[in-house]
């Protein structure tokens, strides 16, 4: 803060107003600027350097060129973790968008106790992930858990959920639908912004509920779809804590996700260089997928409402 005041008063009179305002602005944003260099640029670049070395923290880093990347290509655990992550992302992200939009559409209608219902669907988001993980471990418990007890009531023998290699990922995906409250709120806001006149015009043209949904509602909320698609993809690529707490990557490595394996390499095996190489491949993957999403978004996102 002292910097901000100092720049302003000490600025020599010869400075043009433009330079002056630039320096003032720079002074105000200096906390972010320093943080950006210290906690973003420096770590990102040093991670690129470490990815080209062999480094276990105790001994100094040894330059090995692209060897880490070459090793990754032959690492079956790496491909397993990438496969698990793609499986999780490809199912979880679209599922969450559909679930969140459907819930938002239902809760968008006037009804008694609507505020309470909105609170109920949002509240899981603010629960600490540790608590969520523990509650759901217990819900999923094969013998005494609530899910299998409920299935039992309708005569279905429930699976072992987190204990089964084929059900572990679906279980985590299912749990994730409990945490779509943030997207629901964004869709609700988007639905509120759809002009009533559009629906009235559609009604005059003889549109039924389905027509209105497909031709008015969905096009008008596509910017919200793009937002939750992007944040959903980035989040899903980095799924970690739930698997770490609930399954330890198992059973039989079925929930060893990308960041999980990255974390193991960095903080369990102390292969910092190897972990950094994984981090950079992830960075590249996220960049490519985000870029691709943005590029195609021009074709399916409708910004008519904003212009």
């Amino acid at each position: 803060m002292a910097v901000a005041a100092g720049t302003r008063t000490r600025a020599p009179r010869t400075l043009t107003p433009k330079t002056r305002s630039f320096l003032t602005m720079l002074a105000f944003i200096s906390p972010w600027l320093i943080g950006f260099l210290w906690f973003f640029i420096y770590p990102t670049l040093s991670s690129l350097y470490y990815s080209l070395t062999e480094y276990n923290i105790l001994q100094s880093a040894k330059w090995i060129g692209l060897e880490n990347y070459a090793d990754l290509m032959h690492d079956r655990a790496f491909w397993n973790s990438l496969g698990n992550t793609v499986y999780y992302t490809v199912i979880s992200v679209p599922l969450n968008i559909v679930v969140a939009f459907t819930i938002a559409a239902i809760l968008n209608r006037p009804m008694p106790a609507r505020a309470l219902m909105r609170t109920l669907v949002y509240v899981p988001v603010v629960v600490p992930i540790t608590a969520t993980a523990m509650i759901w471990m217990w819900l999923f418990n094969a013998n005494w858990g609530m899910l299998n007890a409920l299935l039992d009531l309708v005569g279905i023998k429930g699976p072992a959920w987190l204990g089964s290699p084929s059900w572990s990922k679906p279980s985590l995906i299912f749990m994730q639908t409990w945490l779509v409250g943030g997207s629901i709120l964004i869709y609700l806001a988007a639905l509120q912004d759809v002009p009533r006149s559009l629906y009235e015009a559609a009604e005059v043209d003889g549109a039924n509920a389905l027509h209105k949904l497909l031709n008015v509602t969905i096009p008008m909320v596509t910017p919200a779809f793009l937002f939750s698609l992007l944040t959903g993809l980035i989040g899903a690529f980095q799924v970690f804590a739930t698997a770490w707490i609930m399954t330890n990557g198992g059973p039989v490595k079925s929930t060893e996700f990308y960041v999980y394996y990255l974390y193991m390499n960095g903080f369990r095996f102390f292969r910092m260089g190897y972990a950094s190489a994984m981090a950079w491949l992830l960075f590249g993957l996220v960049l490519i997928v985000s870029f691709f999403t943005f590029r195609t978004s021009a074709r399916w996102v409708y910004y008519g409402g904003q212009s």
């Binding site: 302003r8 906390p31 972010w32 770590p43 470490y50 009804m111 106790a113 471990m137 980095q238």
Partner: protein, 297 residues
């Protein structure tokens, strides 16, 4: 609904019958979404019900098939037992030691930076703001390893500093929230203050911040909730058990092959309650904060 109406207009006939059928369709169309909404509400509440129900069970009631849905009489003893089973209050205090400075740092740094981005016209500002926003898209996993190495070299490994200090250097998301809010305050107020000889910092302190109380509350709550819930940060940077935060310490209950679920759920209930209370009290600012970031940005 609309089609039924139009059809009715087109074909005059047994008007009463049509009207009755239209009434039924309308009624069904109105009731089904409401029922669905209540079902959804109940479904989302179910995990909490299971948590509290288990938290009130005696050990032998925990492992029953079919389960005892509502344990009666409730076993309140689980709560004192659970809270002494792990050093619950130490963990809570540890979490506060991080959360309080983190909230202060976030508010200080983000309001300053957002003021620069929102209220000072200068060349290059929008480019810098674009860079600031784009950092949100970068996966944290990319910087996780080098941050660990850097903080270890600084000698901060095993202290709370890696979890506190970054909060004093702004966070893109909250800078964005503040900026959006600051932009809605008329520029004329600032111009008038400049004429009166007020410095930019004075404008921020005397004009902008007093009117920004709702958004300050929102960001403070978000930050607090972020620290309270953070699992990965403490997992990487905290070494000794007596330094654990609550989010990290709760998992002690999982250290056994068959966890004591009634105690685990009692401790989880107590850990969740402050967040729920906070949310109930500040629901409006929370929801506004979220939706502000969404499509309207």
């Amino acid at each position: 609904m609309a089609e039924a109406q139009l059809a009715g207009n087109r074909a005059p006939g047994s008007v009463a019958k049509r009207r009755r059928r239209r009434g039924v369709i309308q009624w069904v169309g109105a009731v089904i979404p409401v029922l669905l909404a209540y079902l959804l509400g109940a479904a989302f509440f179910t995990p909490f019900f299971w948590m509290v129900s288990t938290a009130l069970k005696f050990p032998e009631q925990t492992f029953l098939t079919p389960p005892k849905w509502i344990p009666w009489p409730p076993n309140w003893q689980n709560f004192p037992d659970a809270l002494s089973y792990i050093p619950f209050w130490t963990y809570t205090l540890n979490t506060m030691k991080i959360a309080v400075p983190a909230v202060i740092g976030t508010i200080l740094s983000c309001t300053l930076v957002a003021y620069g981005f929102a209220r000072i016209k200068a060349p290059g500002r929008d480019l810098l703001f674009g860079i600031c926003l784009s950092t949100m898209m970068v996966p944290w996993a990319v910087t996780m390893v080098p941050m660990f190495i850097m903080f270890k070299q600084l000698g901060w490994y095993g202290t709370y500093l890696p979890l506190i200090v970054p909060h004093f250097f702004g966070s893109a998301y909250y800078i964005f929230l503040f900026r959006q809010f600051f932009m809605t305050i008329p520029m004329e107020l600032s111009d008038a203050a400049v004429v009166d000889g007020c410095s930019q910092l004075g404008i921020l302190g005397r004009i902008i911040l007093p009117s920004a109380k709702p958004i300050i509350v929102t960001v403070a709550l978000f930050t607090f909730n972020g620290v309270w819930s953070d699992y990965l940060g403490p997992l990487i940077f905290i070494t000794r058990r007596e330094q654990y935060t609550l989010a990290l310490g709760l998992t002690h209950f999982l250290d056994f092959q068959t966890p004591l679920w009634n105690l685990a759920m009692a401790a989880t209930t107590v850990a969740v309650i402050p967040v729920l209370l906070m949310f109930m009290l500040a629901q409006r600012s929370f929801i506004e904060g979220i939706t502000l970031t969404g499509v309207k940005g």
